[in-house]
């Protein structure tokens, strides 16, 4: 009897910020959100799975970077220089890369005009060990762009969730967010 490899994980709670923002946990576990400057998914990482898939489709009110911080018990980890990111940006005939270190990690770019979609795999967030994630995207920067990130977080902390937010906290995002556990 084969086992299923991917399970939809329902958050215990969802936090959000933004004027007029809404975030609804759907029956099966995805989250529909609107006009959010940040959205936090709590209780999605557990001992049940080591690795998770995050699937997001979204638009922002203006072009901006989508950032990610891991969190535990409702608090984001903002340790200085604990997130190191490498990005790969394909924009027309220009392909560039950049590495940087911050108190926050990257997820991708989003913009308002067209739909944008993201797949992120996050490795070991619940383990009391450093965490890593890799995102691949269809970004609507310039109507079509590739913005990929590989990120490590150096803290040996067990996390139960994450927050997605934009850089300037003035643009708001709308879309559908879902987290899946990958069977070990």
């Amino acid at each position: 009897m084969s086992r299923n490899g991917l399970y939809l994980v329902k958050p215990t709670t969802v936090d959000k910020t933004g004027t007029g923002s809404t975030a609804t946990i759907n029956t099966k576990g995805s989250v529909t959100f609107s006009a959010c400057t940040s959205i936090s998914m709590n209780g999605v990482f557990t001992q049940e799975y080591d690795n998770y898939l995050i699937v997001l489709r979204a638009t922002l009110t203006a072009l901006a970077a989508f950032r990610l911080r891991v969190r535990s018990s409702g608090t984001d980890n903002t340790t200085a220089n604990s997130y190191t990111e490498q990005y790969n940006f394909g924009n027309g005939t220009s392909v560039t890369g950049l590495r940087s270190t911050n108190n926050l990690g990257a997820f991708s770019w989003v913009g308002p005009t067209n739909m944008a979609g993201y797949i992120g795999t996050i490795y070991g967030p619940y383990l009391t060990q450093p965490t890593a994630w890799r995102t691949v995207s269809a970004s609507n920067d310039g109507s079509g762009a590739i913005v990929d990130y590989a990120v490590t977080h150096s803290q040996s902390t067990s996390y139960d969730g994450f927050t997605l937010y934009n850089n300037g906290l003035t643009q708001s995002a709308s879309g559908l967010l879902a987290v899946y556990g990958m069977r070990n």
């Binding site: 939809l8 759907n26 394909g90």
Partner: protein, 184 residues
């Protein structure tokens, strides 16, 4: 009991063109195809899911064959001029290059006659009455091994129920694909 995360979807119908072509829906819902110039897969996008994954293995009739996607509804492809924009990053040996293309179809993958090619394509929101995005990660077998990553957007606010993969000119491709819905 957690929800299954990825649901295989059986098309309502498939059709194909090309000299000596054949295409069929297998008992498990996958689609097998042989010497096709185009392959249309209908009834796979619905209100059940917003986001989808298409996994395909293929072999082409010539050494290098790019192929494309058009979204379709009720058996008719959308070929609106300049409505598809895609960015690609190509890595072949020590050469890394990129380009953006705007056309009445979107680049989605490449296949080759020398060895097997594989692709995983994500479609974001194709059934919604809003623009659609896609991203594909390809194992491109030209020159033995190459990486081809693609991100794209389609700007028509149309609800689609299927897609067509279109090969260049008279080149053909053969293989197997499966469509999955991300449970939400």
């Amino acid at each position: 009991m957690p929800e299954i995360g990825l649901i295989p979807i059986t098309p309502t119908s498939v059709s194909s063109t090309g000299t000596g072509n054949s295409s069929a829906i297998e008992p498990d819902g996958s689609v097998s195809f042989t010497t096709c110039n185009t392959l249309s897969v209908d009834g796979v996008f619905s209100s059940s899911y917003e986001n989808y994954m298409v996994v395909m293995r293929s072999v082409g009739s010539v050494a290098f064959t790019p192929f494309w996607v058009r979204f379709r509804v009720s058996g008719s492809d959308n070929s609106t001029a300049n409505s598809y924009v895609n960015q690609f990053i190509s890595v072949s040996s020590t050469s890394v290059s990129g380009d953006r293309q705007t056309a009445d179809r979107g680049r989605v993958s490449t296949t080759s006659s020398t060895r097997r090619s594989g692709s995983t394509t994500y479609f974001y929101g194709p059934f919604l009455t809003s623009p659609t995005a896609w991203a594909s990660r390809n194992m491109d077998s030209q020159s033995g091994a190459a990486i081809l990553d693609i991100g794209g957007t389609h700007n028509q606010s149309t609800s689609y129920d299927g897609f067509t993969f279109v090969n260049d000119s008279t080149n053909t491709f053969s293989g197997l694909l499966t469509v999955f819905g991300f449970n939400q």
